[in-house]
Amino acid sequence: MGSSNSSVNNIPNAQELMQETGFSAAHILRLHERFEFLDKHKCGQLRPQDFGAVQELALNPIGDSIISAFFSPGQETVDFASFVRILAHFRPTDRNQSRDGAQQEPANSSIRKLKFAFQMYDQDRDGKISRAELLQVLRAMLGIQVTEEQLQSIAERAIQEADLDRDDAISFDEFRKSLEKVDIDHKMSIRFLR
């Protein structure tokens, strides 16, 4: 389980990734090991079925949504760089991070995290959570005792509460507004093992 820098160099674009995502060399190495563990066919790319190796995901109501979030629309595979980039969203936010305006928003900033969360709902990436998309997520999160009518009324109410411009969908800004009291950094971060 060595984490010498030299083995990091075996990973393509490692330095770039580290810069971009803020992961340390040890993190990247570890994630690479994990990637290779999941990539049973050693083809350098992961497919949705590979995530099936993670058994606990079957027990997660939104497990499949998360898996699909790794794949950009239209793509069937995900390579290591994309894998890392997605996971970078979950790094704890760096306080006191000073960056000039020209730099791109880091992956683990609050806005990017929120965007990721937004995409859980907005599967077709049209920038709005429609009622149907909301229903889908609600359906997944609630027990089977909840009837269709009850689901509808919950979705109805949720949209009512959040939808400010009355377009019967929740845009990213409305989403962000409705979650402004939530400590996104805390709720969407995990500490990555060295």
């Binding site: 090991e33 994990r34 999941l38 949705p48 079925q49 995530f51 099936g52 058994q55 606990e56 995901l57 079957a58 027990l59 997660n60 109501p61 939104i62 497990g63 499949d64 998360i66 898996i67 699909s68 239209g74 069937e76 996971l87 979950f90 969360a117 859980m120 599967q123 429609s130 149907a132 998309e133 229903l135 889908q136 997520v137 359906r139 999160m141 609630l142 027990g143 089977i144 005792q145 909840v146 009837t147 269709e148 009850q150 689901l151 009324s153 919950i154 109410r157 949720a158 509460e161 959040a162 989403f175 409705s178 979650l179 009291k181 939530v182 709720k187 969407m188 995990i190 500490r191 990555f192």
Partner: protein, 810 residues
């Protein structure tokens, strides 16, 4: 219960009867029709009577739930013991019954610990093993040393008056006072639903610290006998070595016995009726063997239970497993009750009480303060290494929950009064500390936790989105943790798992049990569609995949699947009213209802629905172990539900991914045009490839088919539709009836649009499922002859050729 002297009136009666029986001469005057032979049955009768009394006490106490939710049951039992003790003392003027160390250590304690070990969530325990060990070993040593030294210091300072105690004796007292008691801890923590990590740490610590306590106690006892001058470096080193020997030796003994039990249950197929007995007997033997070798008996029986649980649960018949669990709970609960009652009774005894204000008060103070200091300091160190730091609140709870109990009392009574002149003082102090911690700390624990929680919780109304999103975040984090291998991926653990699977399971588990284990998971990890289909049908035949067809079928996943998996499936014990949750839903709900009386009822219902039915997810706090409840709880179904749903949709996506899809847009058109045609309507059956009832139920909610973002739809698989009657009237599921369906549709495949699903007779062919977007396969050919029957079908014009298959999202 060994100081049995009979009650006065018994005495009179026995003397009467003995006179009649034996007389002063040796001649019986007549045949006695009935005789009263008290002495004959004295001991067992009293034992049984006490058990009954303790049980009745518990009955009375549990009668009123309100009382027990404020005052923990253990405290009430102690009070009950006080009352009983008072009665007995009043009658006898001497305390005839008390909790003797023999009875306690040999007959009352083992079953409690065996229950703890057997029900221990192993994975959780071992993943927090480091923390637990640090608290148990270093924490206990710190407690002992600090208490002993401080008391000695105070003694020197004159705070305690004139006592005949030396430094060593203070240290001895410190060591018996240091141990956090497993019995008391469980009893109190049952009221307070804390998160599982915190629970396992306190519980684990209370179990493991016995190793330390035994060593410390024996070492200091020996030192006291030797006398202060004989202690040199050699003795101290011997002491340290003995710690390792005792701890590891005890665990090893337990481990060996655990293996024995597993091996034994492997062969007990023909004597299933007494299978459970072996578990208890061997467990008890593990305890006694360790005790015999002067190793740590508690560690032994804990590891015995922990080691064997997996294997005996697989090897034994279901009913035997149930029996074992039930009997363990009965025994453990019963013992605990008796212990607390007797702790109360033992107090009412004039002889043991020696009051020394300084000693007692200082002990109380130091016990509490040093516990806090110890926990906070150790946690500070630990948090540097832990992935998930232990929060402040948890630390407070952990410190406050360091209860002392009967173990300390038992050890105190075992002191030799010749060596330690002030034994009675120590016993009295121990009792006072036990009462203080169990009663006072027990009562105030829950309010303290609530107060702390409320301070932390965000105040204010939460919107539905916030509530849902809160849960989404939880699930998301769990998923990301799993994907990035944060929890599962551990070199040592992997090595152990490999070793275990290769060797131990082979030897210790029955072959038939082994085979069942990850059958279904192998299925779903097969990437090849064909194999998946084959496995699934085979599995269906065998019945283990019943859930795929029948959503109400309940499979005992625990028994059937990989034990790894069953560890992930929790025993969900928390009631929803007591969530340790940053989103304090329940209190908010009340708040909402009172504050917004004007709000239409429906809105409150939505929040209430959400509150009730949101899946809890793994981060939610649950009890894994409870002494007073079996783990039958409706929330267990939650995980079943999720699993079933996920597996269904994945299976569908396997098929859809390979079998080809039709683009989404078309379905809308079809919908609008063809809703009347019942023929057309049958296409919607295809959406539920896995749902095969004759009547698609009117309220689609009963089958919450997750209509997903996936663009794929399955071709119908004949294997899954044997009893489908295409002529049955079907209703259009509401989600389809809606005009706006964009990405949430699952489109029927091309083939399905042209042809109806089949009647049972023709569906036995599985093999020729060709992987192509245009499903012009043998089905078409096979269907051809029967096509004439479908004259009145109005087939729509074939849709335009489908776009290339959309991405294979699972």
């Amino acid at each position: 219960v060994t100081h049995c002297s009979v009650w006065p009136w018994y005495r009179q009666i026995t003397s009467l009867t003995s006179e009649t029986e034996h007389g002063h001469g040796s001649v019986i005057t007549g045949i006695p029709i009935v005789t009263f032979k008290w002495h004959h049955v004295e001991t067992p009768y009293l034992v049984a009577l006490w058990i009954l009394v303790a049980g009745l006490g518990k009955l009375v106490i549990e009668a009123n739930h309100h009382v027990t939710s404020v005052i923990p049951e253990s405290a009430l039992l102690i009070c009950f013991g006080f009352i009983l003790g008072g009665i007995i003392w009043g009658a006898d003027k001497v305390q005839t019954f008390k909790l003797t160390p023999t009875v306690f250590f040999f007959y009352l304690l083992p079953q409690i610990i065996l229950d703890a070990g057997y029900s221990m969530p192993n994975k959780l325990f071992f993943s927090n093993m480091g923390a637990i060990l640090i608290y148990a070993v270093i924490g206990t040593c710190w407690n002992a040393a600090s208490l002993g030294l401080s008391l000695w210091g105070c003694h020197k300072g004159g705070a305690m008056g004139d006592l005949d105690l030396g430094l060593l004796q203070y240290l001895l007292f410190g060591s018996l006072m240091a141990a956090v008691d497993p019995v008391a801890v469980i009893a109190v923590f049952e009221q307070v639903h804390v998160n599982e990590v915190l629970f396992i740490m306190v519980f684990g610590e209370s179990l493991l610290n016995d190793g330390v306590t035994v060593v410390l106690f024996n070492v200091f006892d020996a030192f006291v006998s030797l006398g202060g001058d004989k202690i040199d470096a050699v003795e101290i080193i011997k002491g340290i070595i003995s710690f390792f020997v005792v701890a590891f030796g005890g665990s090893l003994v337990g481990f060996v016995f655990g293996l024995l039990i597993s091996l034994l249950t492997r062969c007990t197929k023909n004597i299933q009726i007494i299978e459970p007995g072996f578990v208890f007997v061997l467990g008890y033997l593990a305890y006694l063997t360790a005790e015999m070798l002067s190793l740590s008996a508690i560690l032994s029986i804990v590891f015995c239970g922990m080691c064997c649980q997996k294997y005996i649960n697989s090897n034994m018949d279901e009913r035997s497993v149930t029996t074992v669990r039930y009997v363990m709970k009965v025994l453990a609960n019963g013992s605990e009750t008796i212990i607390f009652v007797f702790l109360g009774i033992s107090a009412i005894d004039k002889e043991i009480w020696v009051w020394n204000t300084g000693f007692i008060l200082l002990t109380l103070l130091f016990v509490l303060v040093y516990r806090f200091i110890g926990v906070f300091f150790l946690t500070w160190i630990l948090n540097k290494f832990r992935l998930v730091p232990v929060e402040l609140i948890d630390q407070v709870i952990m410190s406050y929950g360091g209860l002392r109990g009967a173990v300390a009392y038992g050890l105190a009574v075992m002191l030799d009064e010749n060596k330690i002149k002030e034994k009675n003082l120590m016993v009295s102090t121990t009792l006072i500390v036990v009462y203080f911690t169990v009663i006072l700390q027990g009562i105030t624990m829950k309010p303290l936790v609530n107060w702390l929680k409320v301070k932390r919780a965000a105040v204010g109304e939460l919107t539905l989105i916030e509530k849902v999103q809160d849960k989404v975040f939880d699930h998301m984090l769990v998923a990301i943790e799993d994907i990035s291998g944060q929890i599962g991926h551990n070199y040592m653990r992997d090595k152990w798992n490999n070793f275990e699977e290769k060797w131990m399971t082979c030897i210790l588990m029955k072959p038939s049990a082994r085979k069942n284990r990850d059958y279904v998971f192998k299925v779903f990890h097969k990437l090849n569609l064909k194999d998946a289909m084959r496995y699934v049908t085979e599995g269906e035949r065998r019945g283990s995949l019943e859930f795929v067809r029948n959503e109400t079928a309940f499979i005992d996943f625990k028994k059937k699947f990989d034990d790894d998996f069953s560890e992930v499936m929790p025993d969900i014990m928390a009631d929803t009213s007591d969530d340790y949750n940053p989103v304090p839903s329940v209190s908010l709900e009340m708040h909402e209802q009172t504050m917004n009386g004007m709000r239409p009822l429906e809105d409150v219902n939505s929040h209430h629905l959400l509150q009730q039915h949101l899946y809890k997810g793994r981060k939610q706090h649950r009890h894994r172990y409870s002494r007073s409840h079996f783990d039958v709880n409706k929330d267990e179904n939650e995980v079943q539900e999720i699993f079933q749903r996920t597996m269904r949709t994945r299976l569908e996506s396997f098929k859809s991914g390979k079998m080809g899809v039709a683009p989404l847009k078309h379905i809308t058109k079809h919908l609008k045009k063809d809703q009347q045609q019942k023929v057309r309507a049958s296409e919607f059956i295809l959406l539920d490839n896995l749902h095969y009832n004759n009547n698609i139920r009117a309220s689609a909610s009963s089958f919450p088919m997750r209509v997903t973002y996936r663009a794929g739809a399955g071709i119908e698989n004949p294997a899954f539709m044997p009893d489908l009657d295409p002529m049955a009237q079907v209703q259009i599921p509401p989600w389809l009836a809606e005009a706006e369906v964009d990405s949430s549709m699952v489109a029927p495949s091309q083939r399905a649009q042209l042809r109806l699903p089949w009647t049972p007779s023709n569906l036995r062919r599985l093999a020729p499922l060709r992987i192509s977007a245009h499903s012009t396969d043998s089905f078409m050919l096979a269907d051809a002859p029967a096509a004439q029957q479908r004259d009145n079908d109005q087939l729509p014009p074939p849709p335009p050729p489908p776009a290339p298959p959309h991405g294979d999202h699972m």
